[in-house]
């Protein structure tokens, strides 16, 4: 499937092989930049990997490893995780930790990294309050960084699936993206 354009931009002569766009999108979600590496778009793949993973890891580190966790119980509805999960594999252990934390017979792994806070009680000093007191503004900034990393990766997933958004270029693959078909 290809698309030609009459304009004279240097990018018009580029032919992008998206290979299998579905697999590329899945890889891009699992690891930022991996979908582009699979498509042999190495420069952009490395750029996305460095930018998104470093943003995520920086936020994760300054938040003491507690800013990414999955929880949906009373007094602790962690909606931010819906954005953080966009990073893929680096955020997925939070789901396992949530299952372990909520099971009274099991302990969270790795010293509770990515585990939800225990003993949530709005009227007492619970573990979430302790994290806020301990890390102060870093907890919020770390949460912001990890959320932005996840949201940015969603844009990257679309780029891996359908190619750059606004350009005239040639696309080939087992399935071309919507709107890039021959006119």
């Amino acid at each position: 499937m290809s698309h030609s354009s009459p304009s004279s931009s240097p990018e018009d002569s580029i032919c992008i092989d998206l290979r299998n766009p579905y697999l590329a999108a899945l890889l891009a979600w699992l690891c930022p930049g991996a979908g582009h590496l699979y498509q042999r778009r190495y420069g952009k793949g490395v750029l996305f990997m460095v930018c998104i993973l470093s943003t995520y890891l920086f936020g994760f580190t300054i938040g003491g490893g507690h800013v990414v966790y999955a929880s949906w119980i009373k007094n602790d509805r962690r909606w931010q995780y819906a954005c953080q999960i966009g990073v893929g594999l680096p955020a997925l252990p939070a789901i396992i930790q949530n299952k372990l934390e909520r099971n009274p017979e099991k302990e969270p792994l790795a010293n509770g990294i990515m585990a939800p806070p225990s003993r949530i009680d709005a009227k007492k000093m619970d573990e979430l309050s302790l994290w806020h007191a301990q890390y102060g503004a870093m907890f919020e900034i770390g949460t912001l960084y990890t959320m932005v990393a996840g949201l940015l990766n969603i844009v990257v997933i679309f780029d891996a699936y359908g190619g750059p958004v606004i350009l005239n270029y040639q696309v080939s693959g087992s399935r071309g993206p919507p709107g890039k078909s021959d006119e």
């Binding site: 240097p10 990018e11 580029i14 992008i16 778009r41 420069g43 952009k44 750029l47 996305f48 930018c51 998104i52 470093s54 943003t55 920086f58 102060g136 503004a137 870093m138 900034i141 912001l144 960084y145 932005v148 940015l152 844009v155 990257v156 679309f158 780029d159 190619g163 750059p164 958004v165 606004i166 350009l167 270029y169």
Partner: protein
């Protein structure tokens, strides 16, 4: 972090205490780079688009900052 830093919003960094909005700068840089790269395939246009987006972001945040600063001055 002591109570003064907590109240003033200053965060201890490697080179001393800095205001929190310093942390916005790398975030805006990353956002503009990734956004530009999802719109172009060559490095030249990616760089140009990223710079445009970065300037736009800085202006937008700067205007917001000015509005809030002016509001706090009024109150």
């Amino acid at each position: 972090m002591n109570i003064y830093q907590h109240m003033t919003g200053e965060i201890p960094l490697l080179l001393g205490n800095v205001p929190q909005f310093i942390y916005l700068i790398p975030l805006m840089l990353v956002c503009s780079l990734v956004y530009g790269a999802t719109r172009h395939e060559l490095w030249g246009p990616i760089y140009q688009n990223s710079m445009r987006t970065l300037v736009w972001l800085v202006c937008f945040v700067g205007i917001l900052f000015g509005v809030f600063l002016f509001s706090s001055w009024l109150v």
